[in-house]
């Protein structure tokens, strides 16, 4: 983890002079919203404290509401396309907090500096703070509407679909304690969200 942070810092330092040069093409944004989780997929296999094995697999219904917020650094590829680097925080399932770092491609029907509809796709890696296995990943697809408030500020609103892959701690059904990692054979979970978002962008 520490090595990853060192790499990120190094990359930012190297990119900084380029960023200064590209200032006119850069924008920043904050995005936030709420997600509704109707279903999730699990694949888990572990040994309990009483030494029997539990295998579970398949789609499960779940009803959670989770919030998310992210910060984005946006770069204009052309009049209609932008590429952004996003860093955020979101809740998944019942209590795990993950920090996704992603790359987003967005396409605006009438150009990014006008009132317009737009869509985007984003993919990235994430850090799960609340589980023994920290690695996670997030993918997003969305459609939004951009409204120019004036000058260099815009407000965006829209809908997005999110899929988060992560590895939450497993609970032993007998002892209700967390299953130690050495007793876990497989453990993955995919949460699929339907989300509403609002964003404010400055450029």
């Amino acid at each position: 983890m520490r090595r990853a942070i060192r790499h990120i810092v190094l990359a930012v330092l190297l990119a900084f002079p380029t960023l200064l040069r590209a200032q006119e093409k850069l924008g920043i944004g904050v995005e936030w919203g709420l997600g509704y989780l109707p279903m999730h997929y699990i694949e888990e296999s572990f040994r309990t404290d009483a030494l029997y094995r539990i295998d579970r697999q398949g789609w499960k219904g779940s009803q959670h509401i989770n919030g998310f917020a992210s910060f984005a650094l946006e770069y204009d590829l052309s009049k209609r396309q932008t590429l952004s680097l996003t860093l955020g925080k979101r809740g998944v399932g019942s209590g795990d907090r993950i920090y996704p770092l992603g790359l987003r491609y967005a396409r605006f029907h009438n150009g990014h500096a006008a009132d317009t509809g737009w869509f985007f796709a984003e993919a990235g890696v994430a850090y799960n703070r609340d589980a023994a296995v920290h690695k996670a990943a997030q993918g997003l697809l969305g459609y939004g509407w951009r409204y120019r408030l004036g000058g260099h500020s815009f407000v965006d609103g829209g809908i997005r679909l999110a899929a988060v892959v992560y590895h939450p701690d497993l609970i032993d059904p007998d002892t209700e304690a967390i299953v130690p990692q050495r007793h876990v054979f497989t453990n993955s979970r995919v949460d699929t969200f339907l989300e509403l978002f609002i964003a404010i962008r400055l450029r």
């Binding site: 509401i65 000058g151 500020s153 404010i200």
Partner: protein
């Protein structure tokens, strides 16, 4: 500006007249908007002049929602006065104002526990507001604090106790974003 369709205008006028009955002072500027925060989301109505407005809000309280502890949000109704101090005018004509004001808030919230009990509090709010000249929108960033009481259930007993509403002070650092439409 595009004309507002007739039906929508009628609904907005009815809503405005209804709300004006409760708000003192002559209405010159009117705003309808949403408040967005990790503390909760809601809608508000503002009426007043460029120097001060009366602010009436209905908010869903997200205590325990975002952490996944509950799925049932609390609610709060608030009344505030906002006083505006012009700070700066940007090159494109956007006005930046500082605003502050006192208020009252009441509702039913969890405040960290499981029981959704009634609360009432005094509220203080301060923030910055951008008013855009070309478009009928305003954008505000604010912080607010609530000092008041909350009714909680005593564990294991069928009785209630009145305590300090801790959530109002604990969540002061969480920002609020006000996005509003001006008539």
């Amino acid at each position: 500006m595009t004309p507002v369709p007739f039906l929508r205008r009628k609904v907005l006028v009815c809503l405005s007249v209804f709300l004006c009955c409760f708000l003192p002072g002559a209405a010159q500027e009117q705003y309808v908007g949403t408040v967005q925060s990790p503390k909760g989301i809601g809608v508000f109505y503002e009426s007043g002049s460029a120097e001060q407005v009366s602010h009436l809000s209905f908010t869903l309280d997200f205590d325990g929602i975002l952490g996944g502890h509950t799925r049932r949000p609390g609610f709060r109704i608030g009344f505030q006065k906002h006083f505006f101090v012009p700070v700066y005018r940007l090159a494109d004509g956007t006005d930046l104002d500082f605003f502050y004001g006192p208020g009252l808030v009441a509702g039913a919230v969890r405040d960290g526990g499981d029981f959704q009990g009634p609360m009432a509090a005094l509220r203080g709010i301060a923030g910055l507001r951008f008013v855009f000249p070309e478009r009928p929108f305003a954008l505000g960033f604010a912080f607010s604090a609530d000092l008041g009481v909350h009714m909680q259930r005593v564990a294991g007993q069928n009785s209630n106790i009145l305590r300090l509403y801790r959530g109002g002070l604990r969540r002061v650092w969480l920002p609020e974003i006000h996005l509003s439409y001006r008539f």
